[in-house]
């Protein structure tokens, strides 16, 4: 009954007029919205296109070259918007015939923490995250439970103590990779265990699986002052990370895959850190492994770290 009543009251021409008016208004509104999005950058500085592209972004290893390049440009735009800094984000593939290894001479390490500072600056770390911890231990002891990473002294080295930096061991049999339910972390062909920060769901299973406590979680949006940002960044390396993802040492992929030394090696004033290609028989790291009494942390777990320690004695 109601419909017949409406039919009686509203003439078909009027309906058409209504519809036309509505469509015109809708069209105008959409046009205005699209213009404003593209011109002024709505969505708090992000374009709608970037927002959608972020949401539908593929896993790093499933992206085509074009998609990857598009993603890198988007990361650069995001950094400009969030931090006000024009960064360069690239993807450097692993080098052929290279597997990276690291060795630390514990006799040479004096506990200055210069490596920790260099890492902080190089890798755009949040203020509460440090990839490297320098452990202070009693001479003659190797009980890591008694190690102090918060030591504060007027001068180091302290008599009767020795210092042992720990960071991600880049295991050859990494338990963190096995624990990840979404394959957001994996081992690259050059031996570096990397994370796709955009694929990480923040479940922190990898943190629980890591026996070296080498992984860290961004509980809040990392605060990076513009003047502190390192603009030379890498997709799997030191690009600014979002909130709610796990991160860790990646042997400075942005440097080492270009033939440079990691920032911690460069900063070490005592030459305690030796970095190189394990597959090159003439490299320094191979000399250390073949001629020094080296050891690794928690070897019995079978994680096969590519991070060795040795001493002069």
């Amino acid at each position: 009954m109601a419909s017949s009543k409406r039919n009686k009251e509203v003439k078909p021409e009027a309906v058409n007029q209504y519809r036309r008016g509505f469509l015109t208004r809708l069209g105008l509104t959409t046009a205005t919205a699209v213009t404003s999005v593209s011109a002024h950058g709505a969505w708090s500085g992000k374009t709608m296109e970037d927002g959608f592209a972020d949401f539908f972004q593929q896993h790093y290893r499933r992206m085509t070259e074009d998609e990857l390049q598009e993603t890198l440009r988007r990361i650069e735009r995001k950094a400009k918007h969030q931090h006000g800094v024009r960064i360069s984000c690239v993807d450097t593939p692993p080098l052929d015939g290279v597997v990276f290894g690291y060795a630390i001479n514990v006799s040479k390490c004096k506990g200055y923490r210069d490596c920790v500072e260099a890492c902080l600056e190089e890798n755009n770390l949040a203020p509460d995250i440090r990839y490297i911890s320098v452990l202070e231990l009693d001479e003659g002891s190797m009980n890591l439970e008694l190690a102090d990473r918060y030591y504060e002294h007027e001068e180091v080295p302290v008599e009767g103590k020795f210092y042992m930096p720990v960071q991600c061991m880049q295991c050859d049999n990494p338990p963190c990779v096995k624990a990840c339910p979404v394959n957001a972390t994996w081992k690259e062909s050059d031996g570096i265990v990397v994370i796709d920060y955009d694929w990480c769901i923040g479940c922190r299973y990898c943190m629980a699986a890591c026996p070296y406590s080498a992984r860290f979680f961004n509980w809040t949006q990392p605060e990076l002052p513009a003047e502190r940002i390192n603009t030379n960044t890498n997709y799997l390396g030191n690009r600014p990370r979002p909130v709610g993802v796990v991160e860790k040492c990646h042997f400075c992929t942005q440097r080492t895959r270009m033939g440079r030394q990691p920032a911690c090696q460069e900063a070490c004033p005592t030459g305690a850190r030796i970095f190189g290609n394990l597959l090159d028989p003439k490299s320094e790291i191979r000399y250390v492994l073949e001629n020094k009494a080296v050891f690794r942390l928690k070897e019995d777990l079978g994680t096969e770290p590519k991070f060795w320690y040795f001493s002069d004695r």
Partner: protein
């Protein structure tokens, strides 16, 4: 004529000296031929290590007798347990050069040849890369620091200094203390 003569002398002298130097400074490659190739990084001595010895010693010969040194010298040599004197390492004839125990005249940049006469193990490690520091990238030309670029030759022990700040603790958490194991009573039957 005189101008030409002067010019020839000016140009020729460094060439002759250069040839002489090349003869003198061929010591290093003999030690470990199987060690990877290297070049020593350019000298960037800190001010305290910088000495221009010939400024005075050109006019005055170095005194080979050990004694308490006066102006413009290092007061103490904290190296070698008081058994060293300047001429143990420096060349007495030209104080801007060094002299090895094999009586070879070498440049300051080749200090590793002298250090190795006592610290042979370290020297071998240095040649192969287990001691010292590589300042170039991990691949490509191997540029390394010479001994005296890290160690003060007159007091070679690494200096103690204040460390960089300790890592922050996340808000709401307390600084993790090392686990001190509880002293348990010894087992009694």
């Amino acid at each position: 004529m005189l101008r030409w003569l002067l010019m020839i002398v000016t140009v020729a002298t460094p060439c002759v000296l250069g040839a002489e130097e090349a003869d003198q400074f061929q010591a290093e490659t003999r030690l470990y031929p199987e060690a990877p190739e290297f070049t020593v990084a350019p000298r960037n001595y800190k001010k305290k290590f910088r000495h221009d010895c010939t400024r005075c010693h050109e006019a005055e010969d170095a005194d080979p007798e050990p004694r308490q040194l006066k102006t413009r010298h290092i007061r103490e040599i904290d190296h070698g347990g008081n058994r060293f004197w300047c001429l143990t390492c420096h060349d007495g004839e030209n104080m801007d050069f060094l002299r090895t125990s094999r009586n070879e005249k070498i440049k300051f940049d080749q200090s590793y040849l002298i250090c190795g006469s006592c610290h042979a193990n370290r020297q071998k490690d240095w040649y192969f890369g287990a001691h010292g520091k590589r300042v170039s990238g991990w691949q490509g030309d191997r540029v390394i620091l010479a001994c005296t670029q890290c160690h003060n030759p007159h007091s070679p022990a690494t200096e103690a200094r204040k460390p960089k700040p300790f890592p922050p603790v996340r808000i709401g958490l307390e600084r993790q203390q090392p686990h001190i194991p509880a002293i348990t009573q010894s087992w009694k039957p």
